[in-house]
């Protein structure tokens, strides 16, 4: 730990004071200095030649930055809905008891700091936590005690592992406890793949023919929105620009999704080749992998894979053996913000700024990263592209339903006996999936994560595909004994925090929805309140600027639609019930005066 101004000088120098590298500079400073103090922020601003408040704006935007002091050990315990189902609250108590600290305490005492975080992409092995970039899965009280004892004894975090992961998680550069839990292999992602072949097949065609093949396959984006990938590449190819970019969205922030993590671990060559195919198709010479901060533990491994691909000619000059096609890929780390999965917010973040979505038009295909035409695609979409190059578009279009071709990777978690990754053909019903993952008798299934749809058993016969039950991959099974309102509450708190804060309906509206929801759940609501709650959901969905706000009311909105009875059971009779609780309001003063409150009806 050196003098702050030296630390900052070194970090800024390493990135040549390039303002688009602000996130990297901040991360380095935090790593060396331990804390992003006001002094450190001012020093960064000075070196990077921006105003102090601009640096502060970036620091306070990202969950893993913040001005809070970091300890020698910083524990980020996941509190997403499935983590709560699996007992993270109890785990938290053990952490607190053993360390003597409390979660969220920013006072800066002690060498172990405890913070909450939301969804770290390990829903199938909860409760889990990140300690100094190392993943700790399937936590139990006993394991926590051992970890804390090791921290107290100043042990290395890597040395605290209590089990091995599977597959490439055991690679020397990963060495993580994380499990892939691949339960079902399909013919697109998990069929055998020989590195180098997909790009070779692509560059034997013209870029136009590659795009045509993608169009024939009818493959749609796997990140959630379902936009046809061939069309997106076509637009980007046709956009004018002296430089173009291909960007891989590996932010994987939707709670309950973890399939991209498994692709990054097991199929990185297939992914990177898909990016090169995209680069060739749109005319880009640079690719960017935007990797969520939670997956930092994969970075060295992915860098090595890229290095190997450069060595064997798949990347770099004359990539894939194609004369004149030069293509390379860089990795850009995120810093903890769900909204950065939104493609234009991702671009802003990759340019070193707060991850606030952009106004459209212009679309990224017109003006994206560094103002140049950019195609942002999901991890899985690129893998589909690789397979389509090998097997052909018609082969791909043979699988699935009318509107949804091919297979889909599902991340299944919650109340089922076999959580994990399932590669299924589009068109599978929820019932069939529940049978496979052993989640029979579920009360509800959350399809597509919190921003998706929470369905009741009457819809379990519906099909998983874009035109019916659309999902970016997140499937959360909610068992009979769960309080559905706890899940909804957890999701809404998530959105209140993860809103970028830019626009009124999302920033203020989600807070107001949560209030109203609590009023009803606590038994203070009437039929009028329920009606208003539903209307307010529509207002937030309609008026919000980006996909986050346009879907954030869904936990409430879809449960009112599908579980109206649960809400109605909570309502008071009549049109009006006072929100003012007289007994509660006078409780303290009565105690001081030694009286009992005299309130009507009490």
């Amino acid at each position: 730990m050196g003098n702050i101004s030296d630390v900052v000088k070194q970090a800024a120098g390493k990135y040549r004071k390039d303002p688009t590298k602000m996130l990297d500079v901040i991360r380095d400073v935090k790593a060396s200095n331990g804390q992003l103090s006001d002094e450190a922020i001012a020093a960064i601003a000075k070196e990077m030649k921006v105003s102090t408040v601009d640096v502060e704006g970036v620091v306070t935007f990202y969950h893993f930055f913040s001005k809070n002091p970091a300890g020698k050990y910083t524990v980020y315990l996941n509190n997403s809905a499935v983590a709560v189902m699996n007992g993270c609250k109890e785990i938290a108590k053990v952490f607190e008891k053993e360390t003597g600290s409390t979660f969220g305490d920013t006072s800066g005492k002690g060498k172990i700091r405890l913070y909450w975080t939301s969804d770290i992409g390990l829903n199938d092995q909860e409760p889990s936590a990140i300690i100094n970039d190392v993943m700790f899965t399937n936590l139990t009280a006993a394991k926590v005690k051992t970890i804390v004892a090791a921290m107290k004894a100043n042990k290395k975090v890597q040395a605290m592992a209590y089990e091995d992961g599977d597959g490439k998680n055991q690679d020397a550069l990963i060495q993580s406890m994380v499990k892939n839990n691949i339960r079902k292999k399909g013919s697109v992602l998990f069929a055998p793949f020989t590195p180098g072949t997909a790009l070779k097949a692509a560059v034997s065609k013209t870029p136009e023919d590659v795009i045509e093949e993608m169009k024939i396959s009818k493959v749609r984006g796997r990140g959630g929105a379902g936009f046809p990938t061939g069309m997106k590449w076509d637009y980007t190819r046709q956009s004018k620009g002296d430089k173009k970019y291909i960007v891989c969205n590996a932010d994987e922030g939707e709670p309950g999704t973890f399939k991209d993590r498994v692709i990054l671990t097991e199929l990185p060559e297939m992914l990177f080749e898909g990016m090169a195919v995209g680069g060739y198709a749109i005319g880009a010479d640079e690719g960017l992998l935007y990797l969520r901060a939670e997956y930092m533990y994969l970075k060295n491994y992915l860098e090595k894979v890229l290095e190997t691909m450069r060595k064997n000619g798949t990347l770099g000059k004359n990539a894939g053996g194609k004369k004149g096609f030069n293509f390379d890929i860089k990795i850009q780390m995120g810093a903890g913000a769900y909204v950065c999965g939104e493609e234009s917010a991702l671009i802003e973040s990759a340019e070193g700024k707060r991850g606030e979505p952009r106004n459209r038009p212009p679309f990224p295909a017109q003006r994206g990263f560094m103002g140049k035409p950019t195609s942002v695609n999901n991890v899985e979409s690129f893998c589909c592209a690789s397979r389509i190059m090998l097997e052909g578009g018609a082969w791909f279009a043979n699988m699935g339903t009318m509107q949804s071709k091919g297979t889909k990777l599902l991340s299944v978690s919650g109340d089922c006996k076999k959580p994990g990754i399932y590669e299924v053909e589009f068109g599978m019903t929820i019932d069939q999936l529940l049978a496979e993952c052993d989640g029979k008798g579920a009360q509800a299934v959350q399809v597509g994560g919190p921003s998706g749809n929470c369905i009741d058993s009457s819809k379990f016969g519906n099909k998983i595909c874009y035109d019916d039950m659309a999902t970016g991959g997140s499937i959360i099974v909610i068992g009979k004994n769960r309080n559905l309102f706890d899940v909804v509450h957890n999701f809404m708190e998530f959105f209140v925090e993860e809103s970028c804060g830019w626009c009124t309906p999302c920033r203020a509206g989600n807070q107001l929805l949560l209030h109203k929801f609590e009023k009803i759940v606590h038994g203070h609501g009437t039929a009028q309140d329920l009606k208003e709650l539903e209307q307010w959901c529509v207002t937030v969905k309609s008026m919000s600027r980006c996909g986050l706000g346009q879907t954030s009311p869904n936990p409430i909105y879809t449960t009112i639609k599908n579980f109206r009875g649960l809400y109605e059971a909570k309502l008071q009779k009549g049109d009006f019930v006072s929100e003012f609780d007289m007994a509660a309001a006078v409780k303290d003063s009565c105690k001081v005066a030694g009286r009992k409150p005299i309130v009507e009806g009490h």
């Binding site: 809103s499 009124t504 989600n510 107001l512």
Partner: protein, 231 residues
């Protein structure tokens, strides 16, 4: 360049290529309420009050360019009620005590509240705790009144291109802030510009106040929007 033809609530309108729906409407004497929009600044689309409906989809009129043949819905009961909801959200999200506010009568949020006949917001007050920043020589920031329009962020920039204002945090904690060091060096003219730029009573000039008495202020006699509608 030929004119673009489009309609707003059935009224035939003409626009120039590249104009936003809001600008084009204004040029045709149609008022679309705005708050974060300020002529001459790059639109940010933060407040969403200018939301209109085109082809069944809601979009912000200040950030969406007009296009040939566009059919714009503006003053429908559905849209107007949602706009009113946005105004109410802005009131409950901050702490607005109009009778004690220097901006009263000149305030665009207050004026919109009047125009939309907001009596009591439909939402509960959130009563956030927000610190006032007063340690700059010319300005003070009463952040209780900020509507996060980002006009100050977009417009108040030093000669060497540094932002004097910026947004910090995110979600429900999003908050405007000012670089006190840079603010200390602001010229009188820039300080005044910052205050006038702010649609509400968040950025205020120290030492001068109530120069124009309440009752004779901008919106005291005519409602907001009347300058466009010619009422």
């Amino acid at each position: 360049m030929s004119d673009i033809k489009f309609t707003i609530d059935g009224k035939a309108c003409k626009a120039k290529e590249g104009q936003s729906i809001v600008e084009a409407a204004k040029a045709n004497g149609v008022y679309i309420p705005v708050l974060c929009h300020f002529e001459g600044l790059k639109p940010a689309g933060t407040c969403r009050i200018c939301t209109v409906k085109v082809g069944g989809r809601f979009m912000a009129g200040c950030t969406t360019p007009v296009a040939e043949g566009m059919i714009v819905e503006n003053m429908t009961p559905e849209i107007e009620d949602m706009r009113k909801a946005i105004i109410e959200m802005l009131f409950v999200e901050g702490n607005h005590m109009c009778p004690t506010c220097e901006k009263s009568g000149n305030c665009e949020l207050q004026a919109l509240g009047y125009r939309y006949q907001m009596l009591v917001p439909r939402f509960p007050y959130l009563w956030p705790v927000r610190e006032v920043i007063a340690d700059t020589p010319r300005l003070y920031l009463d952040r209780n009144r900020c509507v996060q329009c980002l006009r100050c962020v977009r417009d108040i920039v030093t000669a060497d291109g540094k932002h004097v204002f910026a947004v910090t945090n995110r979600g429900d904690k999003t908050l405007i802030t000012i670089d006190t060091k840079l603010a200390a060096k602001l010229s009188d003219e820039m300080a005044l510009k910052a205050m006038n730029q702010c649609p509400v009573g968040c950025i205020l000039r120290k030492e001068v106040g109530y120069k124009i008495p309440v009752g004779q202020r901008k919106f005291d006699s005519k409602p907001i929007g009347s300058e466009i509608e010619g009422r």
